[in-house]
Symmetry: C2
Subunit: 182 residues, 2 copies
């Protein structure tokens, strides 16, 4: 697991192979596949994610582009208001433990939340990354203020009220006018 964390943090999810992690850990790649099933599941275990946001964000019916902001805010609140919220705090805390923790969480957010959402909304890859990082600032800040700092009244506000106030702002980052990086 330590080998997986280092490899994913150093090289990112895409370029890291199960074979490379196996070599680093001096074990057989087949053993990793046997225990974890896939590189994705190994990654989720390395990040110590309480759940896979990608699974939560997937719905039977595709979400309309103009509703993605609301969908993401609702999904965030549902996950953090559930028993997994405590593990969410631990996950956020891990980003402060040094570059490996921050890199792993960054990769996790990018891979399991931002990319799957932005892929459908923004064809320009430069703009998709810009929108994704802006969206992360609103989603991350919501988690920070509501669940860690617990600043009232946002900490105790009912879901509908948070959605009404925050979703349009998030939606703006996803599909509105946000300039163009560099």
């Amino acid at each position: 697991m330590a080998a997986a964390r280092e490899a994913f943090a150093e090289n990112g999810f895409e370029t890291t192979t199960v074979r490379a992690i196996a070599a680093r850990a001096q074990v057989d790649p087949a053993m990793i596949n046997h225990y974890f099933g896939s590189k994705e599941k190994l990654f989720l275990a390395a990040v110590d994610a309480p759940l896979d946001p990608h699974d939560l964000l997937e719905t039977a019916e595709p979400v309309l582009p103009e509703d993605v902001g609301e969908h993401m805010v609702r999904t965030l609140l549902r996950a953090w208001d559930s028993p997994a919220g405590v593990a969410g705090q631990a996950l956020l805390r891990s980003a402060f433990r040094g570059p490996t923790g921050a890199a792993l969480l960054r990769e996790f957010i990018d891979l399991r939340i931002l990319r799957p959402m932005l892929d459908r909304l923004e064809p320009d890859p430069v703009m998709a990354r810009w929108r994704g990082s802006l969206a992360a600032s609103q989603l991350g800040g919501l988690a920070l203020v509501r669940y860690v700092l617990r600043i009232e009244p946002l900490a105790s506000a009912p879901t509908e009220q948070v959605v009404a106030a925050v979703a349009p702002q998030l939606q703006h980052y996803l599909t509105g006018e946000v300039g163009r990086p560099g």
Copy 2:
């Protein structure tokens, strides 16, 4: 200092007196005043704040209501891009260390950032707190994503570009239509 942290975290800044802290620490209140000068300075020392955001936000000319969002984003970037940014990370990390750390940081943000700004913008105290907590979610998320998680391109974007994208969103929380809490 431990006595001050506990007292401020338990009772908040307003209701905590230097006398009560002195009693808790079993020292003379005059000694605290001698070393720290004021309750505010004692509070800043207890929080371990690298600087006082209230001082940074104060300007010679009053900022126009419609420019407060931009002013706050600029001030945040200036502080975190300075050498104090490292201490800012430590301050944010302290919120994860347990209820005392979170309560102290919450009180610090409320007292030295949100209230001085909202006092001038929103006469209704219920709305002022709601707007303040929403603004904190955008400001806190910006610090988290740019300086801790370092999600690109927001992590390296020039100040002007961040201001152009984020300030209107923050401004909306400060003076726009955000509903009314419960």
